[in-house]
Protein backbone atom coordinates (compact mmCIF):
# COMPACT_ATOMS: atom_id res chain seq x y z
CA UNK A 1 0.00 0.00 0.00
CA UNK A 2 1.21 3.49 -0.80
CA UNK A 3 2.42 5.35 2.27
CA UNK A 4 0.70 8.70 2.83
CA UNK A 5 3.99 10.61 2.79
CA UNK A 6 4.80 9.39 -0.72
CA UNK A 7 3.20 12.62 -1.96
CA UNK A 8 5.57 14.83 0.00
CA UNK A 9 6.50 17.36 -2.67
CA UNK A 10 10.11 17.84 -3.58
CA UNK A 11 11.87 21.17 -3.62
CA UNK A 12 12.87 21.71 -7.25
CA UNK A 13 16.33 23.18 -7.98
CA UNK A 14 16.19 26.85 -8.82
CA UNK A 15 16.85 27.88 -12.45
CA UNK A 16 20.54 28.29 -13.33
CA UNK A 17 21.53 26.75 -10.03
CA UNK A 18 24.70 25.23 -11.51
CA UNK A 19 25.76 28.69 -12.74
CA UNK A 20 25.24 30.13 -9.29
CA UNK A 21 27.37 27.39 -7.75
CA UNK A 22 30.14 27.93 -10.28
CA UNK A 23 30.07 31.69 -9.54
CA UNK A 24 30.28 30.96 -5.82
CA UNK A 25 33.24 28.65 -6.45
CA UNK A 26 35.00 31.33 -8.50
CA UNK A 27 34.55 33.79 -5.61
CA UNK A 28 35.67 31.16 -3.13
CA UNK A 29 38.95 30.27 -4.86
CA UNK A 30 42.04 30.84 -2.76
CA UNK A 31 43.99 33.96 -3.70
CA UNK A 32 46.99 31.86 -4.67
CA UNK A 33 45.09 30.59 -7.68
CA UNK A 34 43.99 34.04 -8.69
CA UNK A 35 47.47 34.94 -9.68
CA UNK A 36 47.01 37.52 -12.38
CA UNK A 37 46.49 40.60 -10.25
CA UNK A 38 49.36 39.93 -7.80
CA UNK A 39 51.62 39.04 -10.69
CA UNK A 40 50.97 42.34 -12.36
CA UNK A 41 51.60 44.12 -9.08
CA UNK A 42 54.83 42.17 -8.70
CA UNK A 43 55.77 43.09 -12.22
CA UNK A 44 55.14 46.75 -11.55
CA UNK A 45 57.07 46.54 -8.30
CA UNK A 46 60.07 45.07 -10.05
CA UNK A 47 59.84 47.68 -12.74
CA UNK A 48 59.57 50.45 -10.14
CA UNK A 49 62.56 49.16 -8.20
CA UNK A 50 64.62 48.71 -11.27
CA UNK A 51 63.38 51.99 -12.66
CA UNK A 52 64.83 53.74 -9.63
CA UNK A 53 68.12 52.00 -10.21
CA UNK A 54 68.24 52.82 -13.87
CA UNK A 55 66.62 56.20 -13.84
CA UNK A 56 69.79 58.07 -14.76
CA UNK A 57 70.72 55.65 -17.48
CA UNK A 58 67.44 54.95 -19.19
CA UNK A 59 68.32 55.20 -22.85
CA UNK A 60 65.49 55.32 -25.36
CA UNK A 61 67.71 53.59 -27.86
CA UNK A 62 70.75 51.38 -27.81
CA UNK A 63 72.22 48.01 -28.61
CA UNK A 64 73.79 45.27 -26.55
CA UNK A 65 75.23 41.79 -26.97
CA UNK A 66 75.45 39.85 -23.73
CA UNK A 67 78.46 37.69 -22.86
CA UNK A 68 76.82 36.72 -19.55
CA UNK A 69 73.27 36.99 -18.28
CA UNK A 70 72.47 40.68 -18.31
CA UNK A 71 69.46 42.70 -17.26
CA UNK A 72 68.79 45.90 -19.18
CA UNK A 73 66.17 48.56 -18.56
CA UNK A 74 65.11 49.47 -22.08
CA UNK A 75 62.67 52.14 -20.93
CA UNK A 76 60.86 53.03 -17.73
CA UNK A 77 58.34 50.29 -18.51
CA UNK A 78 60.40 47.61 -20.19
CA UNK A 79 63.07 45.31 -18.75
CA UNK A 80 64.97 42.75 -20.80
CA UNK A 81 67.08 39.93 -19.38
CA UNK A 82 69.52 38.64 -21.98
CA UNK A 83 71.03 35.17 -21.79
CA UNK A 84 74.68 34.82 -22.86
CA UNK A 85 74.97 35.29 -26.62
CA UNK A 86 71.75 37.25 -26.98
CA UNK A 87 71.88 40.45 -28.98
CA UNK A 88 69.33 43.23 -29.27
CA UNK A 89 69.06 46.81 -30.40
CA UNK A 90 66.14 49.03 -29.49
CA UNK A 91 64.60 52.34 -30.27
CA UNK A 92 61.53 53.45 -28.34
CA UNK A 93 58.95 50.66 -28.41
CA UNK A 94 60.72 48.77 -31.16
CA UNK A 95 63.30 46.09 -30.42
CA UNK A 96 65.34 44.29 -33.00
CA UNK A 97 66.46 40.94 -31.59
CA UNK A 98 69.26 39.55 -33.70
CA UNK A 99 70.06 36.46 -31.71
CA UNK A 100 69.68 34.51 -28.51
CA UNK A 101 67.29 34.07 -25.69
CA UNK A 102 65.76 37.16 -24.08
CA UNK A 103 63.15 37.48 -21.35
CA UNK A 104 61.04 40.65 -21.46
CA UNK A 105 58.96 42.18 -18.69
CA UNK A 106 56.62 44.88 -19.93
CA UNK A 107 54.33 46.96 -17.73
CA UNK A 108 50.64 46.77 -18.41
CA UNK A 109 49.51 49.07 -21.18
CA UNK A 110 52.99 49.53 -22.67
CA UNK A 111 53.14 48.72 -26.36
CA UNK A 112 56.20 46.89 -27.58
CA UNK A 113 57.28 45.07 -30.68
CA UNK A 114 60.17 42.61 -30.84
CA UNK A 115 61.24 41.97 -34.37
CA UNK A 116 63.47 39.08 -35.40
CA UNK A 117 64.58 37.61 -38.70
CA UNK A 118 61.82 35.04 -38.48
CA UNK A 119 58.92 37.06 -37.26
CA UNK A 120 57.76 39.56 -34.71
CA UNK A 121 56.08 39.57 -31.33
CA UNK A 122 53.69 42.37 -30.40
CA UNK A 123 52.66 42.95 -26.80
CA UNK A 124 50.83 45.27 -24.47
CA UNK A 125 51.85 44.50 -20.91
CA UNK A 126 53.17 41.03 -20.26
CA UNK A 127 56.11 38.79 -19.44
CA UNK A 128 57.40 36.69 -22.25
CA UNK A 129 60.50 35.21 -23.76
CA UNK A 130 61.79 35.30 -27.31
CA UNK A 131 64.44 32.80 -28.29
CA UNK A 132 66.30 32.74 -31.56
CA UNK A 133 69.02 30.20 -32.36
CA UNK A 134 71.96 32.54 -32.58
CA UNK A 135 74.23 31.04 -35.25
CA UNK A 136 71.51 29.94 -37.58
CA UNK A 137 69.55 33.11 -36.98
CA UNK A 138 72.50 35.18 -37.98
CA UNK A 139 72.60 33.35 -41.30
CA UNK A 140 68.97 34.12 -41.79
CA UNK A 141 69.54 37.70 -40.71
CA UNK A 142 72.30 38.05 -43.27
CA UNK A 143 70.11 36.61 -45.99
CA UNK A 144 67.05 38.43 -44.87
CA UNK A 145 64.40 38.57 -47.54
CA UNK A 146 66.43 36.49 -50.01
CA UNK A 147 64.98 33.38 -51.57
CA UNK A 148 67.74 31.22 -50.08
CA UNK A 149 66.76 31.97 -46.54
CA UNK A 150 64.07 29.38 -46.17
CA UNK A 151 66.05 26.49 -47.56
CA UNK A 152 69.11 27.25 -45.49
CA UNK A 153 67.14 27.82 -42.40
CA UNK A 154 65.59 24.40 -41.98
CA UNK A 155 65.30 23.67 -38.31
CA UNK A 156 65.67 27.27 -37.25
CA UNK A 157 62.92 28.61 -35.11
CA UNK A 158 61.78 31.69 -33.32
CA UNK A 159 60.06 30.64 -30.10
CA UNK A 160 57.87 32.87 -27.97
CA UNK A 161 56.75 31.72 -24.52
CA UNK A 162 54.25 33.83 -22.59
CA UNK A 163 54.37 33.99 -18.78
CA UNK A 164 51.76 36.67 -18.22
CA UNK A 165 49.25 38.56 -20.29
CA UNK A 166 48.84 38.19 -24.03
CA UNK A 167 51.10 38.57 -27.07
CA UNK A 168 50.74 38.19 -30.80
CA UNK A 169 53.40 36.28 -32.72
CA UNK A 170 53.57 36.99 -36.44
CA UNK A 171 55.78 35.11 -38.88
CA UNK A 172 57.51 36.76 -41.79
CA UNK A 173 54.92 35.57 -44.27
CA UNK A 174 52.11 37.21 -42.33
CA UNK A 175 50.76 34.27 -40.35
CA UNK A 176 49.72 35.30 -36.89
CA UNK A 177 48.85 33.61 -33.62
CA UNK A 178 47.62 35.08 -30.33
CA UNK A 179 49.19 33.59 -27.23
CA UNK A 180 48.10 33.86 -23.63
CA UNK A 181 49.87 33.00 -20.39
CA UNK A 182 51.20 29.47 -20.37
CA UNK A 183 51.24 29.21 -24.16
CA UNK A 184 54.09 29.21 -26.57
CA UNK A 185 54.52 29.13 -30.31
CA UNK A 186 57.32 28.68 -32.80
CA UNK A 187 57.80 30.30 -36.19
CA UNK A 188 60.15 28.58 -38.60
CA UNK A 189 62.05 30.06 -41.49
CA UNK A 190 59.34 29.01 -43.93
CA UNK A 191 56.97 31.23 -42.00
CA UNK A 192 54.91 28.39 -40.54
CA UNK A 193 53.62 28.69 -36.99
CA UNK A 194 53.15 25.90 -34.52
CA UNK A 195 52.22 25.71 -30.87
CA UNK A 196 54.89 24.51 -28.50
CA UNK A 197 54.03 22.35 -25.56
CA UNK A 198 54.75 23.01 -21.93
CA UNK A 199 57.63 20.58 -22.34
CA UNK A 200 59.20 22.65 -25.05
CA UNK A 201 58.69 25.71 -22.96
CA UNK A 202 60.34 24.05 -20.02
CA UNK A 203 63.49 23.55 -22.06
CA UNK A 204 63.91 27.28 -22.07
CA UNK A 205 65.29 28.78 -18.94
CA UNK A 206 62.72 30.10 -16.51
CA UNK A 207 61.83 33.64 -15.61
CA UNK A 208 65.19 34.99 -14.35
CA UNK A 209 63.50 36.59 -11.37
CA UNK A 210 63.13 33.01 -10.13
CA UNK A 211 66.79 32.07 -10.59
CA UNK A 212 68.83 32.45 -7.37
CA UNK A 213 71.68 34.86 -7.86
CA UNK A 214 70.18 36.46 -10.96
CA UNK A 215 69.47 40.18 -11.05
CA UNK A 216 66.12 40.95 -9.48
CA UNK A 217 65.92 37.56 -7.76
CA UNK A 218 63.71 37.40 -4.69
CA UNK A 219 62.47 34.27 -2.87
CA UNK A 220 59.01 35.78 -2.36
CA UNK A 221 58.67 36.49 -6.04
CA UNK A 222 60.09 33.08 -6.88
CA UNK A 223 57.45 31.33 -4.76
CA UNK A 224 54.70 33.50 -6.26
CA UNK A 225 56.08 32.71 -9.70
CA UNK A 226 56.04 28.97 -9.12
CA UNK A 227 52.52 29.12 -7.70
CA UNK A 228 51.41 31.04 -10.71
CA UNK A 229 53.04 28.59 -13.07
CA UNK A 230 51.44 25.68 -11.23
CA UNK A 231 48.02 27.29 -11.55
CA UNK A 232 48.63 27.78 -15.27
CA UNK A 233 49.66 24.15 -15.69
CA UNK A 234 46.55 23.00 -13.83
CA UNK A 235 44.34 25.18 -15.97
CA UNK A 236 46.00 23.91 -19.10
CA UNK A 237 45.68 20.31 -17.90
CA UNK A 238 41.97 20.79 -17.27
CA UNK A 239 41.61 22.31 -20.72
CA UNK A 240 43.44 19.42 -22.41
CA UNK A 241 41.39 16.87 -20.51
CA UNK A 242 38.21 18.61 -21.56
CA UNK A 243 39.34 18.63 -25.18
CA UNK A 244 40.26 14.96 -24.94
CA UNK A 245 36.84 14.06 -23.53
CA UNK A 246 35.13 16.01 -26.29
CA UNK A 247 37.30 14.38 -28.94
CA UNK A 248 36.50 10.94 -27.55
CA UNK A 249 32.82 11.76 -27.56
CA UNK A 250 33.00 12.95 -31.17
CA UNK A 251 34.95 9.84 -32.15
CA UNK A 252 32.36 7.57 -30.55
CA UNK A 253 29.59 9.50 -32.28
CA UNK A 254 31.37 8.93 -35.59
CA UNK A 255 31.41 5.21 -34.88
CA UNK A 256 35.06 4.99 -33.90
CA UNK A 257 36.62 3.52 -30.80
CA UNK A 258 37.83 6.07 -28.29
CA UNK A 259 40.14 3.46 -26.91
CA UNK A 260 39.23 4.08 -23.30
CA UNK A 261 37.25 0.91 -22.70
CA UNK A 262 34.43 3.02 -21.27
CA UNK A 263 31.87 2.13 -23.92
CA UNK A 264 29.29 -0.33 -22.68
CA UNK A 265 29.16 -3.67 -24.50
CA UNK A 266 25.74 -3.01 -26.00
CA UNK A 267 26.47 0.57 -27.07
CA UNK A 268 27.16 -0.66 -30.60
CA UNK A 269 29.04 1.28 -33.24
CA UNK A 270 28.93 0.69 -37.00
CA UNK A 271 32.26 -1.12 -36.70
CA UNK A 272 30.74 -3.44 -34.11
CA UNK A 273 27.94 -4.25 -36.54
CA UNK A 274 30.37 -4.93 -39.37
CA UNK A 275 32.21 -7.33 -37.10
CA UNK A 276 28.96 -9.03 -36.11
CA UNK A 277 27.92 -9.39 -39.73
CA UNK A 278 31.13 -11.28 -40.38
CA UNK A 279 30.36 -13.57 -37.45
CA UNK A 280 26.70 -13.94 -38.49
CA UNK A 281 25.53 -12.43 -35.22
CA UNK A 282 22.92 -9.97 -34.05
CA UNK A 283 22.80 -8.52 -30.58
CA UNK A 284 20.79 -5.87 -28.86
CA UNK A 285 19.70 -4.41 -25.58
CA UNK A 286 16.07 -3.46 -25.00
CA UNK A 287 14.09 -2.40 -21.94
CA UNK A 288 12.93 -5.48 -20.07
CA UNK A 289 9.52 -6.82 -20.92
CA UNK A 290 8.05 -6.67 -17.42
CA UNK A 291 4.61 -5.12 -17.42
CA UNK A 292 4.54 -1.74 -15.70
CA UNK A 293 8.16 -1.90 -14.54
CA UNK A 294 9.12 1.14 -12.54
CA UNK A 295 12.41 1.74 -10.74
CA UNK A 296 12.22 1.46 -6.97
CA UNK A 297 13.36 4.31 -4.75
CA UNK A 298 16.58 2.37 -4.20
CA UNK A 299 17.06 1.98 -7.98
CA UNK A 300 16.45 5.69 -8.43
CA UNK A 301 19.00 6.58 -5.78
CA UNK A 302 21.57 4.34 -7.47
CA UNK A 303 20.71 5.98 -10.79
CA UNK A 304 21.24 9.36 -9.07
CA UNK A 305 17.70 10.34 -9.97
CA UNK A 306 15.14 12.02 -7.76
CA UNK A 307 12.16 9.98 -6.55
CA UNK A 308 9.93 12.02 -8.87
CA UNK A 309 11.84 10.74 -11.89
CA UNK A 310 10.43 7.25 -11.40
CA UNK A 311 7.22 8.14 -13.22
CA UNK A 312 9.10 9.56 -16.22
CA UNK A 313 11.19 6.39 -16.48
CA UNK A 314 8.05 4.24 -16.27
CA UNK A 315 6.49 6.22 -19.12
CA UNK A 316 9.55 5.72 -21.32
CA UNK A 317 9.43 1.99 -20.58
CA UNK A 318 5.77 1.87 -21.46
CA UNK A 319 6.36 3.63 -24.80
CA UNK A 320 9.20 1.25 -25.60
CA UNK A 321 7.05 -1.78 -24.86
CA UNK A 322 4.22 -0.46 -27.07
CA UNK A 323 6.63 0.37 -29.88
CA UNK A 324 8.16 -3.11 -29.91
CA UNK A 325 4.81 -4.80 -29.64
CA UNK A 326 3.43 -2.83 -32.59
CA UNK A 327 5.91 -4.79 -34.75
CA UNK A 328 6.27 -8.10 -32.92
CA UNK A 329 2.62 -8.49 -31.83
CA UNK A 330 1.05 -8.78 -35.31
CA UNK A 331 3.89 -11.04 -36.53
CA UNK A 332 3.46 -13.29 -33.52
CA UNK A 333 -0.33 -13.30 -33.90
CA UNK A 334 0.06 -14.36 -37.51
CA UNK A 335 2.54 -17.06 -36.56
CA UNK A 336 0.34 -18.70 -33.92
CA UNK A 337 -3.07 -17.62 -35.15
CA UNK A 338 -4.25 -16.00 -31.93
CA UNK A 339 -3.87 -12.42 -30.75
CA UNK A 340 -4.66 -13.28 -27.13
CA UNK A 341 -2.11 -16.10 -27.13
CA UNK A 342 0.49 -13.73 -28.57
CA UNK A 343 -0.36 -11.21 -25.86
CA UNK A 344 0.24 -13.83 -23.20
CA UNK A 345 3.58 -14.83 -24.71
CA UNK A 346 4.89 -11.27 -24.89
CA UNK A 347 7.79 -9.86 -26.95
CA UNK A 348 10.54 -12.13 -25.65
CA UNK A 349 8.81 -15.44 -26.20
CA UNK A 350 7.31 -14.25 -29.49
CA UNK A 351 10.79 -13.39 -30.78
CA UNK A 352 11.88 -16.97 -30.18
CA UNK A 353 8.73 -18.30 -31.73
CA UNK A 354 9.25 -16.22 -34.87
CA UNK A 355 12.89 -17.32 -34.98
CA UNK A 356 11.94 -20.99 -34.68
CA UNK A 357 9.66 -20.70 -37.68
CA UNK A 358 12.58 -19.87 -39.96
CA UNK A 359 15.03 -22.37 -41.34
CA UNK A 360 18.74 -21.93 -40.67
CA UNK A 361 19.46 -20.26 -44.01
CA UNK A 362 16.67 -17.71 -43.87
CA UNK A 363 17.57 -16.89 -40.25
CA UNK A 364 21.17 -16.38 -41.29
CA UNK A 365 20.02 -14.14 -44.18
CA UNK A 366 17.88 -12.11 -41.81
CA UNK A 367 20.79 -11.61 -39.37
CA UNK A 368 23.04 -10.60 -42.25
CA UNK A 369 20.55 -8.04 -43.55
CA UNK A 370 19.96 -6.53 -40.10
CA UNK A 371 23.69 -6.28 -39.40
CA UNK A 372 24.29 -4.62 -42.81
CA UNK A 373 21.55 -2.09 -42.14
CA UNK A 374 22.90 -1.26 -38.67
CA UNK A 375 26.45 -1.04 -40.08
CA UNK A 376 25.18 1.56 -42.54
CA UNK A 377 25.98 -0.60 -45.55
CA UNK A 378 22.33 -0.88 -46.58
CA UNK A 379 19.73 1.87 -46.21
CA UNK A 380 17.18 1.29 -43.46
CA UNK A 381 13.89 0.23 -45.10
CA UNK A 382 10.84 2.46 -44.70
CA UNK A 383 7.45 1.23 -43.48
CA UNK A 384 6.28 -0.38 -46.72
CA UNK A 385 9.65 -1.91 -47.46
CA UNK A 386 9.81 -3.36 -43.95
CA UNK A 387 6.51 -5.12 -44.41
CA UNK A 388 7.96 -6.96 -47.40
CA UNK A 389 10.85 -8.37 -45.33
CA UNK A 390 10.53 -11.77 -43.73
CA UNK A 391 9.07 -11.75 -40.18
CA UNK A 392 12.40 -12.50 -38.54
CA UNK A 393 14.15 -9.57 -40.24
CA UNK A 394 11.25 -7.29 -39.27
CA UNK A 395 11.48 -8.50 -35.67
CA UNK A 396 15.22 -8.03 -35.39
CA UNK A 397 15.12 -4.63 -37.06
CA UNK A 398 12.65 -3.51 -34.42
CA UNK A 399 14.72 -5.01 -31.59
CA UNK A 400 18.07 -3.65 -32.76
CA UNK A 401 16.60 -0.18 -33.31
CA UNK A 402 14.83 -0.03 -29.99
CA UNK A 403 17.89 0.84 -27.90
CA UNK A 404 18.31 4.15 -29.75
CA UNK A 405 14.56 4.85 -29.73
CA UNK A 406 14.50 4.25 -25.98
CA UNK A 407 17.46 6.59 -25.52
CA UNK A 408 15.73 9.28 -27.60
CA UNK A 409 12.66 9.08 -25.38
CA UNK A 410 14.86 9.36 -22.30
CA UNK A 411 16.59 12.35 -23.88
CA UNK A 412 13.25 14.15 -24.20
CA UNK A 413 12.98 14.02 -20.43
CA UNK A 414 16.56 14.08 -19.19
CA UNK A 415 18.69 15.53 -22.00
CA UNK A 416 20.98 13.64 -24.37
CA UNK A 417 24.00 13.07 -22.11
CA UNK A 418 21.95 11.94 -19.18
CA UNK A 419 19.85 9.72 -21.46
CA UNK A 420 22.95 7.96 -22.77
CA UNK A 421 24.23 7.37 -19.27
CA UNK A 422 20.87 6.05 -18.08
CA UNK A 423 20.33 3.80 -21.12
CA UNK A 424 23.46 1.83 -20.21
CA UNK A 425 23.25 2.04 -16.44
CA UNK A 426 23.13 -1.40 -14.86
CA UNK A 427 20.43 -0.23 -12.46
CA UNK A 428 17.84 0.04 -15.21
CA UNK A 429 15.98 -3.15 -16.11
CA UNK A 430 17.33 -4.12 -19.54
CA UNK A 431 17.20 -7.34 -21.52
CA UNK A 432 20.37 -8.22 -23.44
CA UNK A 433 20.43 -10.82 -26.18
CA UNK A 434 22.82 -12.26 -28.74
CA UNK A 435 21.64 -14.44 -31.61
CA UNK A 436 23.43 -16.36 -34.34
CA UNK A 437 27.15 -16.83 -34.89
CA UNK A 438 29.17 -19.81 -33.77
CA UNK A 439 27.56 -19.70 -30.33
CA UNK A 440 23.97 -18.70 -29.84
CA UNK A 441 22.99 -17.46 -26.42
CA UNK A 442 20.11 -15.71 -24.86
Amino acid sequence: MKEPWADWKVHEPTPNFADKVMDAIARDRPQARSWRAPAIVASLAVAAALGGMWVSQRPTSGAITADARKEVQLSSHVVAVLEPGASISWKGAHIDQRAGDVFYRVDKGTPLEVETALGSVTVGGTCFRVRLDSEEARKVEDMKYTSQAASLAVGIALTAIVYEGRVALASKNGKKIDLVAGEGARANAAGDLESVSEGAGAKLSRDPSRTPGAPGFDWGKAVAGYQKELAEVEERQAEVERELAEAKKALLKAGGDAGNGDRPEYDLSKDDWREMREKGQVKYQVPCDRKGWKPSSSDLAKLALAPEDGEAIAQVYSRSKDRLWSTIGPLCTKAIGSASAAEILGSDACTHLILNQENRQSASDAFDLVARIRAGEVAEPNGKERERLNPLAQTFLALTGEGKAFERDLADKFGADEAHRLAFDKNLCMGKSTFGGPRSEK
Binding site: E12, M22, R242, A301, A304, P307
Partner: protein, 192 residues
Protein backbone atom coordinates in the same frame (compact mmCIF):
# COMPACT_ATOMS: atom_id res chain seq x y z
CA UNK B 1 35.28 13.11 10.63
CA UNK B 2 32.11 11.43 9.59
CA UNK B 3 32.63 12.41 5.98
CA UNK B 4 36.09 10.87 6.02
CA UNK B 5 34.64 7.53 7.09
CA UNK B 6 32.18 7.66 4.25
CA UNK B 7 34.87 8.60 1.77
CA UNK B 8 36.87 5.52 2.40
CA UNK B 9 34.00 3.15 2.99
CA UNK B 10 31.42 4.09 0.39
CA UNK B 11 29.77 1.61 -1.89
CA UNK B 12 31.36 0.93 -5.23
CA UNK B 13 28.58 1.07 -7.78
CA UNK B 14 29.85 3.93 -9.88
CA UNK B 15 29.08 3.50 -13.56
CA UNK B 16 31.96 3.39 -15.98
CA UNK B 17 30.60 6.49 -17.67
CA UNK B 18 30.44 8.42 -14.43
CA UNK B 19 33.83 7.54 -13.01
CA UNK B 20 35.94 9.59 -15.48
CA UNK B 21 33.81 12.64 -14.72
CA UNK B 22 34.25 12.11 -10.99
CA UNK B 23 37.99 11.75 -11.50
CA UNK B 24 37.97 15.11 -13.25
CA UNK B 25 36.01 16.55 -10.34
CA UNK B 26 38.73 15.29 -8.00
CA UNK B 27 41.18 17.32 -10.08
CA UNK B 28 38.81 20.29 -9.65
CA UNK B 29 37.98 20.55 -13.33
CA UNK B 30 35.27 23.24 -13.42
CA UNK B 31 33.54 21.74 -16.46
CA UNK B 32 33.24 18.36 -14.76
CA UNK B 33 32.07 19.95 -11.56
CA UNK B 34 29.32 21.79 -13.42
CA UNK B 35 28.21 18.38 -14.70
CA UNK B 36 28.33 17.07 -11.13
CA UNK B 37 26.09 19.90 -9.89
CA UNK B 38 23.56 19.34 -12.68
CA UNK B 39 23.57 15.63 -12.02
CA UNK B 40 22.97 15.73 -8.30
CA UNK B 41 21.20 19.02 -7.66
CA UNK B 42 17.76 17.44 -7.56
CA UNK B 43 18.79 14.94 -4.92
CA UNK B 44 20.33 17.69 -2.79
CA UNK B 45 17.32 20.02 -3.12
CA UNK B 46 15.04 17.10 -2.40
CA UNK B 47 16.87 16.24 0.83
CA UNK B 48 17.27 19.81 2.03
CA UNK B 49 13.68 20.70 1.17
CA UNK B 50 12.39 17.82 3.22
CA UNK B 51 14.80 18.45 6.07
CA UNK B 52 14.23 22.20 6.30
CA UNK B 53 10.79 22.72 4.83
CA UNK B 54 9.94 25.39 2.30
CA UNK B 55 12.01 28.55 2.28
CA UNK B 56 14.86 30.39 0.63
CA UNK B 57 17.48 28.77 2.86
CA UNK B 58 17.21 25.57 0.82
CA UNK B 59 18.97 27.14 -2.16
CA UNK B 60 21.62 28.77 0.05
CA UNK B 61 22.28 25.49 1.79
CA UNK B 62 22.36 23.60 -1.52
CA UNK B 63 25.04 26.02 -2.72
CA UNK B 64 26.99 25.44 0.45
CA UNK B 65 26.72 21.67 -0.03
CA UNK B 66 28.26 21.91 -3.49
CA UNK B 67 30.91 24.37 -2.35
CA UNK B 68 31.97 21.94 0.34
CA UNK B 69 31.90 19.10 -2.14
CA UNK B 70 34.15 21.10 -4.47
CA UNK B 71 36.61 21.84 -1.69
CA UNK B 72 36.47 18.26 -0.45
CA UNK B 73 36.80 16.50 -3.79
CA UNK B 74 40.55 16.19 -3.33
CA UNK B 75 39.91 13.53 -0.69
CA UNK B 76 37.11 11.79 -2.58
CA UNK B 77 37.65 8.34 -4.06
CA UNK B 78 35.92 8.37 -7.48
CA UNK B 79 35.27 4.64 -7.20
CA UNK B 80 32.97 5.17 -4.24
CA UNK B 81 29.38 6.28 -4.25
CA UNK B 82 29.21 10.02 -4.93
CA UNK B 83 25.55 10.34 -4.00
CA UNK B 84 26.11 8.86 -0.53
CA UNK B 85 29.05 11.18 -0.03
CA UNK B 86 27.10 14.22 -1.19
CA UNK B 87 24.04 13.34 0.89
CA UNK B 88 26.35 12.99 3.90
CA UNK B 89 27.46 16.61 3.42
CA UNK B 90 23.87 17.74 2.84
CA UNK B 91 22.49 15.90 5.86
CA UNK B 92 25.17 17.23 8.19
CA UNK B 93 24.57 20.77 6.97
CA UNK B 94 20.81 20.44 7.30
CA UNK B 95 21.10 19.08 10.85
CA UNK B 96 23.54 21.85 11.79
CA UNK B 97 21.24 24.43 10.28
CA UNK B 98 18.26 23.14 12.21
CA UNK B 99 20.22 23.24 15.44
CA UNK B 100 21.77 26.61 14.77
CA UNK B 101 18.62 28.44 13.93
CA UNK B 102 16.36 26.35 16.14
CA UNK B 103 14.34 26.33 13.03
CA UNK B 104 10.91 27.73 13.04
CA UNK B 105 9.87 26.43 9.70
CA UNK B 106 7.44 28.25 7.47
CA UNK B 107 4.14 28.42 9.35
CA UNK B 108 2.06 25.39 8.66
CA UNK B 109 -1.58 26.14 8.04
CA UNK B 110 -4.04 24.10 9.98
CA UNK B 111 -5.18 21.42 7.58
CA UNK B 112 -8.65 21.43 9.16
CA UNK B 113 -9.26 24.95 7.92
CA UNK B 114 -8.34 24.22 4.33
CA UNK B 115 -11.38 23.64 2.08
CA UNK B 116 -11.64 19.95 1.33
CA UNK B 117 -12.42 20.40 -2.34
CA UNK B 118 -10.41 18.34 -4.87
CA UNK B 119 -8.50 21.46 -5.75
CA UNK B 120 -7.19 21.73 -2.26
CA UNK B 121 -6.67 18.08 -1.49
CA UNK B 122 -3.09 17.86 -2.68
CA UNK B 123 -2.21 21.07 -0.88
CA UNK B 124 -3.94 19.86 2.25
CA UNK B 125 -1.96 16.64 2.22
CA UNK B 126 1.28 18.51 1.58
CA UNK B 127 0.69 20.78 4.54
CA UNK B 128 -0.24 17.86 6.75
CA UNK B 129 2.95 16.01 5.78
CA UNK B 130 5.05 19.09 6.62
CA UNK B 131 3.27 19.45 9.92
CA UNK B 132 3.72 15.78 10.79
CA UNK B 133 7.40 15.89 9.82
CA UNK B 134 7.93 18.96 12.00
CA UNK B 135 6.94 16.92 15.01
CA UNK B 136 9.81 14.47 14.38
CA UNK B 137 13.16 14.96 16.07
CA UNK B 138 15.91 16.13 13.73
CA UNK B 139 17.62 12.74 13.84
CA UNK B 140 14.38 10.88 13.18
CA UNK B 141 13.59 13.18 10.29
CA UNK B 142 17.02 12.74 8.69
CA UNK B 143 16.93 8.95 8.93
CA UNK B 144 13.36 8.83 7.67
CA UNK B 145 14.03 11.10 4.65
CA UNK B 146 17.23 9.28 3.68
CA UNK B 147 15.50 5.91 3.79
CA UNK B 148 12.17 6.79 2.24
CA UNK B 149 13.19 9.28 -0.42
CA UNK B 150 16.79 8.47 -1.24
CA UNK B 151 16.70 4.70 -0.92
CA UNK B 152 19.77 4.49 1.28
CA UNK B 153 20.41 1.38 3.37
CA UNK B 154 20.40 1.36 7.17
CA UNK B 155 24.18 0.90 7.07
CA UNK B 156 24.63 3.94 4.84
CA UNK B 157 22.31 6.08 6.98
CA UNK B 158 24.19 4.91 10.05
CA UNK B 159 27.42 6.21 8.48
CA UNK B 160 25.87 9.48 7.43
CA UNK B 161 24.28 10.39 10.76
CA UNK B 162 27.05 8.82 12.86
CA UNK B 163 24.76 6.58 14.91
CA UNK B 164 24.67 2.78 15.38
CA UNK B 165 22.47 0.85 12.97
CA UNK B 166 20.06 -0.25 15.70
CA UNK B 167 19.55 3.36 16.75
CA UNK B 168 18.84 4.29 13.14
CA UNK B 169 16.31 1.47 12.86
CA UNK B 170 14.56 2.67 15.99
CA UNK B 171 14.46 6.25 14.74
CA UNK B 172 12.98 5.14 11.45
CA UNK B 173 10.43 2.92 13.14
CA UNK B 174 9.32 5.75 15.45
CA UNK B 175 9.25 8.24 12.58
CA UNK B 176 7.09 6.01 10.42
CA UNK B 177 4.78 5.24 13.33
CA UNK B 178 4.30 8.95 13.95
CA UNK B 179 3.83 9.84 10.30
CA UNK B 180 1.28 7.07 9.77
CA UNK B 181 -0.68 8.17 12.83
CA UNK B 182 -0.56 11.83 11.87
CA UNK B 183 -1.64 11.14 8.31
CA UNK B 184 -4.11 8.34 8.98
CA UNK B 185 -7.10 10.44 7.93
CA UNK B 186 -5.59 10.84 4.50
CA UNK B 187 -5.03 7.12 4.13
CA UNK B 188 -8.65 6.42 4.99
CA UNK B 189 -9.81 9.26 2.76
CA UNK B 190 -7.92 7.96 -0.24
CA UNK B 191 -9.19 4.42 0.36
CA UNK B 192 -12.82 5.47 0.44
Amino acid sequence: MLAARTLSGGMSNVSSLEQPMLERCVRQDPEAFRWFVGRYQRAVFSLLGRMLGPGAQVEDLAQEVFLRAYRGFGAFDPKTNAITWLLTIATRLALDERKRRKLSLAPIEDADRVPASDKWKARELGLAIEKAANALSDDQRAAFVLLEFHGLSIAEISQIVGAPENTVKTRIFRAKEHMRAALSSFVEGSAS
